[in-house]
């Protein structure tokens, strides 16, 4: 028979998983609304790194700020109203979140389906993109933050061509990463982005 203390622990675990799912989804919505300061603020001050597609590895909170604020968000440069067509829809799908027994660390796998619009060769182009996340989270002062964000791109194709015809367009390394991307193997490489979890039944 369970006592009140055990029950409380179980409630906390359920709340933690819900909080982490919300954190991951909020990241997507902040990205969509191009609020990159808000994205940076979802990372712990002691965050390890962010590693997105071909951009390279950005270490520490300072590197994460460089990636999202300086590079993707183009820093404090005011947005040209004529660029309102630029858009990034990053749909966060299929969260498998596993809490560490410590209760202050967790890992999550997700996949993303993106519809993007930005300049390519001076021309506005529309893109379909797919990828998987394997992220790590940390609980500090009662709140969940990103500790590591690792997004593995499957393909990055133009709307007019599709992934089989043209798996990859428009991806370049950022100017100032701390290292090369650790696992950039887009389609059709057949690369399997490893799961953080074991098989739930066989344990393998």
């Amino acid at each position: 028979m369970m006592n009140l203390q055990d029950l409380e622990k179980q409630v906390i675990r359920m709340e933690d998983i819900q909080e982490i799912e919300n954190l991951q989804r909020r990241y997507g919505y902040y990205f969509d609304t191009r609020n990159f300061q808000a994205v940076v603020d979802l990372f712990s001050d002691s965050a390890d790194f962010a590693d997105l597609e071909s951009f390279g590895l950005f270490r520490g909170k300072e590197g994460i700020r460089r990636l999202y604020w300086d590079d993707i968000g183009r820093g404090s440069r005011p947005r040209d109203p004529s660029e309102s067509w630029i858009s990034t829809v990053v749909i966060q799908i299929g969260g498998v979140v596993n809490l560490d027994p410590s209760g202050v660390a967790a890992k999550g796998r997700w996949q993303t389906w993106l519809a993007e619009t930005f300049l390519y060769g001076g021309v506005p182009r529309q893109y379909w993109v797919h990828g998987y996340y394997e992220n790590e989270y940390v609980k500090e002062r009662g709140k969940w933050f990103f500790k590591k964000l690792f997004w593995n791109v499957t393909f990055f194709t133009m709307f007019e061509t599709g992934w089989l015809t043209q798996p990859l367009v428009g991806l370049l390394p950022m100017a100032n990463p701390d290292g090369p991307p650790t696992a950039f193997y887009p389609y059709p490489s057949g690369y399997k982005f490893p799961y953080h979890y074991n098989h739930p039944i066989t344990g393998e």
């Binding site: 028979m1 369970m2 006592n3 009140l4 029950l7 179980q10 409630v11 359920m14 998983i17 799908i93 299929g94 969260g95 498998v96 979140v97 796998r109 996949q111 389906w113 797919h130 499957t154 599709g162 992934w163 089989l164 015809t165 389609y187 059709p188 057949g190 399997k192 799961y195 979890y197 098989h199 739930p200 039944i201 066989t202």
Partner: protein, 206 residues
């Protein structure tokens, strides 16, 4: 005021739903990578059936193995073959007994597959869409698949779209790995048939 036992039962229900959601999503990730043995291991030994689109009904754990390992996994995937299933929007209902459950999910598919048969012909890039109505069972504290049923809405070449070409690459039951029974509900777009949900209306109860 709820008793400790009642609270415990309620927490267990919430945990069950979360476990089932994870099971369904993990299933999707294994399928993305053609890891069919891992998929089979997510099914109960007392599994009822698996039925996908027009392939027909494969019964029991033996049928589940034949479907995933022999039919889908009979040959290794070709270079460039892609089979991504984005499983979304789960509605999971745990039965009052706490041992069985049902779930409805959307699946949006991003694929590159041969369309002449499962393994032959030129690769085509495809969009797909359908709905799962699955059943789950809890055994020894773990949730497993009891039944997988997938209703194919459309699978269309990227260049054409669902209005022009609703379905490609479906050719009925396999002759090499035949099903135990024919399909029970294969009515892709634009048949006008709709797969009814397992649940009653949450407000009216109808």
């Amino acid at each position: 005021m709820a008793t400790l036992e009642e609270l415990q039962a309620r927490i267990t229900r919430l945990e069950d739903i979360k476990q089932i959601e994870k099971l369904q999503r993990i299933y999707g990730y294994y399928l993305d990578y053609f890891e069919f043995q891992k998929v089979v291991d997510l099914f109960s030994d007392n599994a009822e059936s698996v039925e996908i689109a027009d392939y027909g009904v494969y019964k029991g754990k033996q049928g589940v193995k034949r479907f995933y390992l022999e039919l889908l996994g009979g040959k290794p995937p070709r270079i460039g073959e892609l089979s991504i299933g984005m499983i979304m929007q789960g509605v999971v209902d745990v039965d009052p007994n706490g041992k069985t459950a049902k779930g409805r999910w959307y699946c949006m598919m991003i694929e590159a597959k041969p369309t002449i048969s499962l393994h032959e012909g030129e690769l085509r890039q495809l969009w797909g869409n359908g709905i799962y109505e699955n059943e789950y069972v809890k055994e020894e504290g773990k949730w497993l698949f009891k039944k997988v049923f997938f209703f194919l809405n459309f699978r269309t070449p990227y260049e054409d779209g669902w209005l022009k070409v609703p379905v490609v690459g479906q050719h009925g039951p396999s002759k090499e790995v035949p099903p135990d029974e024919p399909s029970t509900y294969y009515h892709p777009y634009p048949s006008g048939f709709h797969l009814q949900p397992h649940y009653k209306h949450p407000i009216t109860g109808k």
